[in-house]
Symmetry: C2
Subunit: 379 residues, 2 copies
DNA sequence: TTGTAGGCGTTATCAG
DNA sequence: CTGATAACGCCTACAA
């Protein structure tokens, strides 16, 4: 099949009009007579014409695509059962069927379930509404720079999850196309930015712990220093404490890396402290769910009861928080909305390149579950 | 920022070489001296040069992108908690935080959880390995044709989930770029195709029901007639029965539409039959999980016990099967592998346009859970 | 309502 | 190892 693909010109010749007219008909700019339209439509069908995006892009200087740059981990985050994809493709000679009895789900997902797939979904939706296509790339190691620049050369704008790109690369990219930063991990920036109400979320959560559960000794487990979201969350933590008249530390006493493994380490330290006679805080507020789940792993293993002995909370709203024992109280982020808002910010920026930089903050939801104690049901 | 983006030529001038040389350096074709390389690299950095994919594509006649065309429902399938995205964006004036007590998850997802996000993940991975970028589109109604053709003009090949595109559109597309069909719903085709061991999966499952659970009266709930996967699954169903010496119908007695709602209707009919004195079959084997879950909804509501009164099984391996009550025995599809295999087939086809059409069948896993009865643990 | 002409930024071909 | 030079397929004034 497919010799040389038919071009606009072929269509024009066949329809007996000029290529300009065909162009007009296709993009329906300007005026085209009904006759011409019909002839063109026929020619297109007969020839099987498909416009070349490359030529279009070159001539019009826009590609009608936006790029999404997600953390490598996103690959893992999109993880679902039945996935496999470990690196080796399924053996061609392997059995067509295997049988297992109720397998336990894969142990621990790296980054434990912040479904970036949701972000993609939201972004795709917004792009679709704007008549744009979407292309996604994971910021994987080898060749990161080349691949990201390639993407930059291919799109009208990019959404970049904060922290996925080295600063100089990000700068290089943003000299070419507008960039919207999706705050997540990583450092601040001078681009349009979309984030969530981190501080308010934690503040409200802590308020609940203090007011409704009467907890007065709380501790915060953060991320590494300089993580903007974490800093905001900690600020919310402090604010709530101070407002309740409880002494609050200047900085988190514990710092993790947002991972469950590190959460376990911190859990071990806490438990070890108890063994030495230290007393557990009334509540441990974690900067994210994975960290909290890591602590929970250790608490369960060592007989520390949650919420009786210590209340535990997370942030993000990953799926695992619903099925942990006890289910984890957390602050849920609207992932799909993040994607949508990011693309919306991008299209706005593309439309008005010189408008002021914007920051969009999306609302969060405090989800009260067993890990912070029993609830009547009116928050 | 950004006046007129620097071009290859600008880089060449600045580096004091010809544009050809710059091109060579960038794509590292042919030979370029170290000096030239260095000068070029500097020029690129200083200018913030990013190659234009449009120009590249036009000149080289390849775009280094592959497209993925997913069913509209995929939008819903990527669904996760914290999603929202109902159509209206979050109110700007809305509260930054809201609080809820352990909300039940959103009722029912349309198509209930065939995570196409997994397919995307697998496809992205394979594309990445091949140095390709990926663009995804959902086959949404208005403008389907225009959008799909636009995608076709933008990529070197497309993966299309079977049934998402009208035949004539698919044909139009495939006149331009190679197409790999991901069997799912819909009709057969003359393209490279990737699918799973549908028949073998069900066959093995039924074998288990008969041999290990001693069930001798089984019924099959299919999809609408002409659905290839369903037909294969039914064939596996028949084969297992016949081999076990059990009479098997020529065609499914019940037909659903793969949806949970329709599954409920079928469930109601079954229950109504019982009320009229009919006797339940020993097992109901459903063509997919959603249908089975629909039946289960009704059975639970009417006190029909699974697996005591009737055994129930599905197909797909959606997440909900793990948390239903009882957990649903099913045949799990390797979603990510499907995506990967599809892109692999595509790159192979692109490399050898005239090779014979291929069919790739991926292995499945029969997952035994509570809905088919107790198990020791050796299948 | 339609056509003409020129250029968009790269790659590929062919000589040096 | 390097440079001219011609496409590549379409859009966009501008003119008719």
């Amino acid at each position: 099949m497919r010799g040389r693909a038919p071009t606009l010109r072929d269509v024009a010749d066949r329809a007996g009009v000029s290529s300009t007219t065909v162009s007009r008909a296709i993009n329906d700019h300007g005026f085209v007579s009904q006759d011409a339209r019909a002839a063109i439509r026929n020619a297109i069908d007969e020839l099987g014409y498909v416009p070349s995006a490359s030529a279009r892009g070159l001539a019009s200087r826009r590609t009608a695509m936006v790029g999404l740059c997600l953390p490598v981990v996103a690959a893992d985050l999109l993880h679902r059962p039945g996935a496999r994809l470990a690196g080796a493709p399924a053996q061609p000679g392997a059995e067509a069927v295997s049988v297992v009895v109720d397998p336990t789900p894969d142990a621990i997902l790296p980054w434990g379930g912040m479904y970036f797939g949701e972000v993609v979904r939201g972004a795709e939706f917004a792009a679709w509404e704007a008549g744009l296509a979407i292309t996604v790339a994971m910021s994987r190691s080898p060749d990161l720079e080349a691949r990201v620049l390639t993407m930059a050369g291919r799109v009208d704008g990019m959404v970049v999850v904060s922290g996925t790109l080295p600063d100089d690369l990000l700068e290089h990219v943003s000299r070419r196309v507008p960039v919207v930063v999706l705050t997540g991990l990583g450092s601040a920036s001078a681009h349009d930015r979309v984030t969530v109400s981190n501080a308010e979320g934690v503040e409200r959560l802590v308020e609940h712990l203090v007011a409704d559960h009467g907890i007065t000794s709380l501790e915060y487990v953060g991320a590494w220093a300089g993580t903007p979201d974490d800093e905001e969350r900690f600020r919310g933590f402090r604010r709530a404490l101070l407002r309740a008249g409880i002494a609050a530390p200047e900085s988190p006493r514990w710092r993790g890396d947002l991972g469950r493994r590190r959460g376990r380490e911190i859990g071990e330290e806490l438990v070890a402290g108890v063994a030495r006679g230290e007393v557990l805080p009334g509540a441990v507020v974690c900067c994210n769910d994975d960290t909290a789940l890591g602590l929970l792993d250790v608490f369960s293993a060592h007989g520390v009861r949650v919420p009786e002995d210590v209340v535990l909370t997370g942030f993000d709203g990953v799926e695992a928080t619903r099925t942990s024992d006890p289910p984890l109280t957390t602050v849920e982020q609207p992932m799909a909305e993040l994607g949508r808002a990011a693309v919306a910010a991008l299209t706005a920026r593309i439309a008005a390149p010189s408008r002021r930089t914007t920051v969009t903050s999306l609302p969060v939801t405090v989800v009260l579950r067993g890990s912070c104690g029993p609830h009547s049901d009116a928050p």
